[in-house]
Subunit: 366 residues, 2 copies
Amino acid sequence: MPRMIVTYRVRSDAAAIGARAAAIAVEQSVEMPVTAISDETVLKDIVGEAIGIRETGSGVYDVNIALSTATMGNDPGQLLNMLFGNSSLQETVRLVDAELSDATIGLFGGPRHGIEGLRRRCGAAGRALTCSALKPQGLSPAGLADIAYELALGGIDFIKDDHGLADQAYSPFAGRVEACAGAVRRANRETGFRTHYAPNISGDLDAMREQLSLAAAEGVDTALIEPMICGVSNFHRLVKDFPAIAFIAHPAMAGPSHIAPPLLLGKLFRLFGADVTVYPNYGGRFSYSKETCLRIAEEARRPCGNLKPCLPAPAGGMTLDRVPELLDFYGKDTMLLIGGSLLAAKDRLRQETSAFVSRAASYFQG
Amino acid sequence: MPRMIVTYRVRSDAAAIGARAAAIAVEQSVEMPVTAISDETVLKDIVGEAIGIRETGSGVYDVNIALSTATMGNDPGQLLNMLFGNSSLQETVRLVDAELSDATIGLFGGPRHGIEGLRRRCGAAGRALTCSALKPQGLSPAGLADIAYELALGGIDFIKDDHGLADQAYSPFAGRVEACAGAVRRANRETGFRTHYAPNISGDLDAMREQLSLAAAEGVDTALIEPMICGVSNFHRLVKDFPAIAFIAHPAMAGPSHIAPPLLLGKLFRLFGADVTVYPNYGGRFSYSKETCLRIAEEARRPCGNLKPCLPAPAGGMTLDRVPELLDFYGKDTMLLIGGSLLAAKDRLRQETSAFVSRAASYFQG
């Protein structure tokens, strides 16, 4: 029976690590004393097996465990559950990596559009894509639409809602999307640019479906979503049900690092269908290291079965003056996301956006 | 405009804590430089405000932040998002508590059955409730039904699926529920006990709905669910759509403690509708402290507006010999959950279950 090799990072004394590894193998499979199991098939095919232990630091071990892929039940949430459901409750265990089988890759299928699809939509070959965010929370639809209009006049590729914009009384989803999508359409007609508005969807699956249908009726073809809040199974359901929509995955509620960000935000979000993965870049408001950020981008983009690559979007306090540094570091298959610092230009928002866009456009042509 | 007082625990030097608190207040509200905001209403009503900082240990501070309740948008997922979405990505910030307003309490409404409702269903006044789990993963529906039958003959109140049982090829949901619910009905007819079978539901919202409908058709009135995997908004949607079902919330994927377990597993799961909250008890396979466990139970049960109390279910490696200790510690408004160690009795499962049940039943009558 097929197995999936999963890597956990465990803090432990040397004397205990063998038992700890065996305990994780049981916890993430049958979750009961193996001696109490009499079924031969379960013992042979289902019980997890610790197959390797390697010290990676003082009192820190990488443990490889072979888990039965049959337990994953063809569902993204159940995959997370079997990878880490109960062990997520342990302070001393982190989920570092999981080898995806061809069957798993084929089952979920990854991004429906991928980097090339996004480039085609924006007419953006050979350069990094640009994105900004509609903020602050609390503005009316008209107030947000004014900002969207200026950003679009500046020629930015994507304008996403702030991930905090939901279906609040001061800015209901329907009114916001109508106003902002309308403003962006108007700007595109005036400039000839191809700016895309990506509203944030939230709530239960029914609510998100309704929001996507409503957005699609306004000509929207991109949406922001928080897979760790809505549940990865619901995220993946929307990816399958709305194949024309490109999905930008936001990391809200992903936790600090009990699931390694390259695995969760890079490999798994891509697997479940993220066309873009947003993550907090090094040197911004968050504490991910440079190495972690690079590995997220690598997992999002590297060859993986027949999955399309997913566009990494380093964010969280980025500024215009860092554009060259970010492009040197990540290369052109990147979405540069500058939110608050662009909005701080206020009356000069359009000009500042223009400067951002031309800096990104010219960088790989020099 | 109403505010919700939220407490974060922050690791920081003394010199930086004021700025850190202000940064969290912004991160969890408008998420952009406040100086770049010109809208007076947003500045007054929406921007979060740090209202208190208290050192609770060396280099550890509890920070109180007043967040606008309007940003929560009447949705459980959005509530989590505004409480902790982005800050969850910070290693040095934990979400400790949130004061629930009467409006928020009334909006979500908590458990539909609560402790008294569960007692009535089981004919169990004045004693702790008992529960066991169907395992191991990998057995066929018939194999699991055999175990369910023995547990039910022993007179246990609840038999829940292991949280790893989903809709796998070796035990599809429909076949499992038919077999296990049937076995429990048969045992109840033979014994006169009122054992309840609680299948685990999983997948996207559509799949979970279908599973609940199917289970209800088999006479099932209780279900196990993992809110942090399916998304709290979807969990709450099911609570509203299936008022006859009592929900047992399982903590899978809740993470170690970046959200304090008393807040998440006690207060919030109850708020969203959990009738029972399962959590890893001290002295078992997990590392929650005795104090954390007691506080989860307190949050689940204490008076809170018009919410029904939720039954705490300490679990994760409990054994028969610990029943008196657990009942002394938690009192009778508790669900004792013994899984693997009961199943280890194998051929004597029925007798061992009986012993468990009578120990729980007699404890508060001596």
